[in-house]
Subunit: 454 residues, 2 copies
């Protein structure tokens, strides 16, 4: 899907050989950002800060050392990660346009690794939506076709990578917000197991569902990023006892994939064909198709938990007039009227869903689904039709992805083909909780079969 030279690992190699400098990478990225400004991928980007960080990296390298593989690599950051050098607004007008004095843990880890923080990316307001069309800074446009949406809520991060501005960006994922725009823009996105990457300093949408993670130009890039990002953080209790990301070896045994179907898991014919063809090319894996019943009930549990937690977080802000688009405000106000009984029921259904995936589908290494049921929708189209369903564009974006958040699974999307209109189609794999390394190993195997043998 992408030119080999666009990968972060190629940038790392070129820096190592001295074929380029951090300043060179930064200047190229700044020029590309300028060229593609119509995408509206960035909401804050200061060339002076970028170049200063790049020069500092080059200085280290000249002095004979680096801070690690990311030293000198430009990496963009979604606008809900706190950053010391840029304002953090979650693309809502409720928050000031001034930087805080705190870096989110993952941003701090990138900086400690020498990465050049390359501005803040556009997102769906408060991450409370999956189209990236609702933002204080206006909608984000898809680099593959600017008349189409990126999906969201990490749409700016996806556009920045897919547009070749940067090779990697941070995003966050509550119901697919990393995977959706990565798929819609034809790149790679990885949501870690809940609790394996710190959310400290990331403005929450729904604390029991949110997981931060990388979007990038290749799975090898993702592996480098996860090695930097994952592991325990005293600032975020859910990471307690979690271990750092272990480097990924090649697939040592046949992976057992389970392809999920059933009511609530419909997809368009061309998406289905692309995913099926991709799996047929992955000869080292077995693919079994299994029905997963009760999807709408499980979806309801995800939605109830999301609404309740989002409302709890935003409650103090609801009394003021500003800060929310009408749709977001309506969601948050409705969340106030959900009862404890409804929430408990949702929490119980969630436990049931986790148990079903853990032991109700036999032995599996990864669950496989399309990432999206349709290619990136055109701007301004509110409804999608596929597989006999008519679904709002919003719901079509989270259609499959929320499963991974409700169960806390690691999940990855990789490009697997193009639609008749030339838009990317993504394939999603979800692993068992904690098995992020194994999942990436399987994804790499399939990606090699699908994208690198042509």
């Amino acid at each position: 899907m992408r030119r080999k030279t666009d990968r972060m690992i190629d940038q790392i190699a070129a820096l190592g050989r001295g074929d380029t400098s951090a300043r060179g990478l930064a200047e190229t990225a700044l020029a590309q950002a300028q060229t593609l400004c119509e995408l509206n991928a960035f909401v804050a980007l200061d060339p002076d800060k970028v170049l200063a960080a790049a020069d500092a990296s080059d200085g280290r390298r000249r002095a004979g050392f680096t801070l690690g593989p990311l030293d000198g690599i430009p990496i963009a950051v979604k606008d809900n990660f706190l950053t010391k050098d840029y304002p953090t607004t979650a693309c809502s007008d409720a928050l000031p346009l001034e930087p805080t004095d705190v870096d989110a843990t993952l941003v701090a880890r990138l900086r400690e690794g020498g990465a050049v923080i390359f501005g803040k990316t556009n997102m769906h307001e408060w991450a409370y939506g999956a189209t990236n069309t609702t933002s204080r800074f206006g909608p984000t446009r898809n680099p593959c076709n600017p008349g189409h949406i990126t999906g969201g809520s990490s749409g700016g991060s996806a556009a920045a990578v897919a547009g070749g501005i940067v090779t990697a960006a941070l995003g966050s994922d509550t119901g697919g917000s990393i995977r959706i725009p990565a798929s819609a823009c034809g790149i790679y996105g990885f949501k870690p197991t809940y609790g394996r990457a710190s959310r400290h300093g990331v403005l929450p949408l729904s604390w029991s569902l949110d997981a931060p993670g990388p979007l990038a130009a290749s799975l090898d890039d993702i592996a480098v990023l996860l090695s930097c990002l994952m592991g325990e953080d005293a600032g975020y209790a859910a990471t307690r006892g979690s271990h750092p990301f272990q480097p990924v070896a090649a697939l040592s045994r046949k992976a057992r994939l389970v392809s999920l179907t059933g009511p609530g898991l419909e997809r368009s014919d061309e998406v289905d064909a692309a995913v099926t063809a991709a799996l047929q090319r992955a000869q080292g894996c077995t693919v079994e198709t299994r029905a997963l019943p009760g999807m709408r009930r499980f979806f309801g549990a995800w939605e109830t938990i999301l609404h309740c937690e989002a409302t709890a977080y935003h409650q103090p802000r609801l009394a003021t007039a500003a800060g929310f688009s009408p749709v977001t405000r309506a969601h948050l106000e409705a969340g106030q009227y959900l009862t404890a009984q409804e929430l408990l029921r949702a929490q119980q259904v969630r436990a049931e869903f986790c148990a079903l995936l853990a032991s109700g589908l036999g032995d599996w290494d990864a669950l496989v689904l399309p990432t999206l049921p349709v290619p990136a929708p055109a701007m301004g189209v509110d409804w999608q039709e596929f597989g006999g369903r008519r679904v709002s564009t919003q719901d079509s974006m989270t259609w499959f992805c929320w499963l991974g958040n409700l169960a806390g699974l690691p999940a990855v999307t990789l490009p697997c083909g193009l639609s008749s209109t030339g838009l990317p189609i993504g394939l999603m794999l979800m692993g068992r909780p904690g098995q992020d390394e194994r999942l990436l190993q399987i994804a790499k195997f399939i990606d090699t079969a699908v994208n690198q043998t042509e």
Copy 2:
């Protein structure tokens, strides 16, 4: 506090020596139950079933084998544990007076160990109260003074042990329901870490707070029981990954105790004096006094979670007229109107409380408090006064104990003296989650200093 001959380990030894038989123990217990029938400790007890189980045990022993240390020991069971041979009513008139075809996991483990299930004990209706005065079968009376309550909700189990009918009984504990009556009746009670003993087949009060466990005549008895009862159970997900109880060695290093004080942790002068004197006798431990602020806020979280979960469980039954005393019904109906925001807030405060105990009080091996702020109240007295507080008798019973449930800690009560009117006073120790063995080791050390050196 008790005669040495009343302990279960003495029964085990006597059976081993052939000094008595299971039938002998059963007949003595049945006679004592008859003598003390005014206590109303039992709500179902069938001599034929008891004697048949005892005879089977004696048969095994004659054939040269046993099923383990409990083989032939009469053990009573609280009326919210499902039993194949007795009805299970939770002392509510909502449930039929017919046995089910299922044993709760812990009852099954006792039977597999050869124990003689010795009837069902009286309890506070649905375990939704801590006095044991509300029951389909009438109130339970305290063997130390029948004009006083036993406390609850495992009041019948405590009365059966304290009355010398049996040396051990099963109870369940959501806000102290094992420890409260054990303390009020002058015996030992142990609530395991949440998730280390299966609740499968125990009618719930509040599933995230409930923990089943033993009441017994000595801490050595408790150790034998926990070895049989604890560990993984496929029927109860919370036990997954938990390990069986490991036998307890003598205390190998000085235990660090933290004695908690502050608003909300008041106690009567004579209770305080008894606990203080007991700790002074435990020379191998260091005792540091620490203030624990915010108790009423944490208590509110416990109460909200309890009401929400109890209402969720009973909701289908609320539409019918029968099954609940007016007070219980009022609680359950009020639980329907709690909002998701209130429950989420309570769940967050709970997480904060766990973090505070885990790392906000320095290094500690056990937290120490009185089990109750007052000795067992007289029947019919609705209010208690102590430490400048006027508190309902119900709230005085759970006054300290709920801390252990909100944080899921292992907790044990041991007798540590008598009030001016001859009623027992109990000392409570709570350990770190999962450290049940260490907690019992510390309790044993203190118990030896307090109760077995006279």
